[in-house]
């Protein structure tokens, strides 16, 4: 295919991605090296606010931005190099923690806490999603043809439901006096507070993610199972391969590209996990990297937002994801070289 033709085909798609992804990304990249500040002045202001009947007036010094002749705040933009990255990583505190030998206090620093959890979350759920997805696919493939349709339908439910709603539906089962917690309390006659324990929240968040994504893995694997070469299977049987050996040496290799595909998608999605933190209100115990970025971007009541640090944290998240994906990307590159022409 000639370049011109290719350009016509991919043009609209590439244009949209450039406009709405690459362009914002470039500006995020630039902002992570800049700090834009308003020029502020200190003024004495008298503010009168209501009590219930009377009014209280206080005179206090306030810092307010200087406005230009159009009434817009004047700002300065400065190149600060890696300062914002250093602020996100808080290397000084990390250094101090290492020097004093208290390693655990590193994990009290937001970025490292988020990184620790995000990595654990991603790497623990990955095999669970693939394993559970494969198990369901094999079991469904094994089930009577007449009920397969219904089972596939039920299995897909956790995947199609709106993520926030799904997370809340599980949260309500466990938090406070949720019915599952109440049942467990009844069984062991103790008082259980799921949301008071970091590890319990962590497990619940992982459970939710596996519950939500395993159906996706399942449906892909199930489709893959439909194309397993029956001849190979039969010859494996003739060679006396056991059931497990057939799975191990015929089915799994056949599904390997799919396992890679699921792994790829899952690594990306889990590494930028976000809904779980909101859905399970886990901020006190566990935070993720995307939540950290989001939190820096959220304006406080006074309208301040830490755009430079948020940009730096977003770039760090991206770097992390690219590192995680490198092994899979190299494989894709080899395939591409092998399959081209």
């Amino acid at each position: 295919m000639k370049f011109r033709t290719l350009a016509w085909f991919v043009g609209p798609s590439v244009f949209m991605m450039l406009l709405f992804i690459a362009f914002p990304l470039a500006s995020v990249f630039l902002q992570s090296f800049q700090i834009t500040q308003p020029i502020v002045e200190t003024v004495e202001v008298e503010t009168c606010t209501p009590g219930f009947l009377g009014q209280t007036c206080v005179t206090e010094t306030k810092t307010t931005p200087v406005l230009d002749e159009n009434g817009n705040p004047t700002t300065t933009t400065e190149w600060v190099g890696l300062l914002s990255y250093a602020r996100v990583l808080q290397l000084e505190q990390v250094g101090a923690a290492i020097a004093s030998g208290t390693w655990s206090s590193i994990l009290a620093i937001d970025f490292w806490k988020a990184l620790r959890f995000t990595l654990t979350f991603t790497l623990v759920t990955l095999p669970l999603v693939i394993g559970l997805g494969l198990a369901i696919a094999l079991a469904v493939n094994n089930a009577a043809r007449s009920i397969r349709g219904q089972i596939i339908f039920v299995s897909l439910l956790p995947f199609i439901i709106t993520p926030v709603i799904g997370a809340l539906s599980i949260r309500w089962l466990f938090y406070g006096d949720g019915i599952v917690t109440a049942m467990l309390e009844g069984m062991f006659s103790t008082d259980i507070s799921v949301a008071a324990n970091g590890w319990a929240i962590e497990m619940l968040m992982m459970f939710y993610r596996v519950w939500h994504v395993a159906p996706f893995a399942f449906v892909i694997f199930y489709a893959g199972l439909q194309t397993v070469n029956q001849d190979t299977l039969e010859s494996a049987i003739i060679d006396g391969a056991s059931r497990f050996e057939r799975l191990r040496f015929v089915v799994v290799p056949h599904l390997m590209p799919l396992i890679i595909f699921i792994a790829l998608i899952h690594l990306m999605d889990a590494y930028r996990a976000f809904e779980e933190v909101i859905g399970f209100s886990s901020q006190a115990h566990r935070i993720t990297l995307q939540w950290l970025t989001y939190d820096l971007l959220e304006p406080d009541d006074a309208g301040n937002r830490a755009i430079s640090r948020a940009s730096a944290s977003a770039m760090l998240t991206m770097i992390g994801i690219v590192i995680l994906l490198i092994p899979l990307l190299r494989r894709t590159w080899r395939d591409h070289k092998g399959s081209a022409h």
Binding site: S13, I160, T162, S169, L173, F274, A310, I321, H336, A340
Partner: protein, 385 residues
């Protein structure tokens, strides 16, 4: 189909496999089933710690809202009849009435019509009929199971949730159509080009997919709000404010969804033999003509599957829609999230649950209709790597 003897499984394995599947289905469906039950109860019952209270709803029943034995029996009969009808008669009607080649649209229209007819019968006619029946049957007509549809009424009629439903339809339809049009072209182009450029487009798209969305979205907001000012030098006085426009949100969602779409469709097109369009080109077709006349007729399974994923993304999106749409154009998910803000009451929460359950219903229908297409689409395309 006869199973070869060696493939027959020992009873223990079959039992293990069946019970595993039953267990999984329970876990998969229970949380969703449970919020569905909650949505029909008064707030006190819905958040009760005792599961029996949630199921039987004593407080709801005490308020005089409930189902009698007669209600339950007749309701179940109607429900089962409706499901049977859906699986036996509906396909026939659709087959007979939809014009050839338009089976998919026929199915969509048929399913929607059926759903509406069901809603009218089940929630419109049946309650009136049963109300009369309950009044004359004495103890059999007394409520035993607390159940109320007031939250659904509050959400859909009083709070005007149907407007959000409309907006969701617009956004979702827009995203699916544009995403597939743009993505199909790109997917085909990338599948048929072995150049390094194509490869790098794919890899960069993959990295784009990995971006944390909150960063992108926060970048859009100021630009969208000030777009009238920014675009005025170019477009003059007609420069639009993009903030709040469904079209702008559609464009953003399409872009965010492009990486996944082109990857799926590319692997799908790779499995359509190259010889097919090469033969067409030998006959003098251009690439576009080959695409139009040879590829388009056989690409539908893959497109439907990919379309479903686009649909899910657009339908379920919260981050983009909540920030970039104003109240008039708000879709359903941010509207529901709005019930859970700092200033909610328990009633708001149960109403949110009712809203959440009702937005799941269209997803149900969709998956029911397209279930086989999903599997066959995946079998034909993406899953071959």
């Amino acid at each position: 189909m006869a199973t070869p003897k060696a493939l027959q499984q020992p009873a223990s394995l079959r039992l293990a496999s069946a019970s595993f599947l039953a267990f999984w289905c329970l876990i998969a469906a229970f949380p969703i089933f449970w919020i569905a039950v909650m949505s029909f109860k008064s707030p006190v019952d819905a958040f009760s710690a005792n599961p029996l209270n949630v199921v039987f709803g004593p407080t709801t029943r005490a308020d005089g809202k409930g189902l009698s034995i007669i209600d339950i029996v007749i309701g179940l009969v109607v429900l089962i009849a409706a499901v049977r009808l859906a699986f036996t008669q509906l396909p026939k009607w659709v087959g007979r009435l939809s014009p050839p080649g338009m089976a998919i649209i026929g199915w969509l229209v048929g399913a929607a019509a059926y759903a509406i007819a069901f809603l009218i019968v089940f929630f419109g006619i049946l309650p009136v009929f049963l109300g009369g029946l309950n009044a004359v049957t004495g103890p059999l007509g007394a409520p035993v199971l607390g159940l109320t549809t007031e939250h659904y009424y509050a959400v859909w009629i009083e709070n005007g949730f149907w407007r959000n439903f409309q907006n969701s339809l617009i956004v979702t339809a827009g995203v699916v159509t544009i995403s597939l049009t743009v993505g199909t072209l790109a997917g085909y182009g990338l599948a048929r080009s072995g150049s390094n450029l194509a490869f790098w487009i794919l890899i960069i798209a993959l990295i784009f997919r990995a971006l944390p969305h909150s960063v992108l979205v926060a970048g859009y907001l100021p630009v969208f709000i000030n777009s009238a000012e920014i675009l005025r030098p170019i477009l003059g006085e007609n420069a639009p404010t993009l903030y709040g426009q469904p079209l702008a949100v559609i464009a953003v969602l399409v872009a965010i969804n492009q990486p996944f779409t082109i990857w799926m469709l590319r692997s799908f097109f790779q499995n359509i033999p190259n010889e097919l369009d090469e033969a067409a080109r030998v006959d003098g077709c251009t690439h576009f003509q080959a695409f139009r006349w040879v590829i388009m007729p056989v690409m539908w399974p893959g497109v439907i599957t990919t379309g479903l994923f686009s649909f899910l993304l657009a339908y379920n999106d919260l981050l983009v829609t909540s920030l970039l749409l104003d109240a008039q154009n708000q879709t359903m998910v941010p509207a529901i999230a709005g019930y859970f803000n700092r200033e909610t009451t328990t009633t708001d929460q149960v109403e949110a649950v009712a809203a959440a359950v009702s937005i799941t219903a269209p997803l149900f229908l969709l998956v029911m209709i397209f279930q086989r297409q999903i599997v066959s689409g995946l079998t034909a395309g993406a899953v071959k790597g």
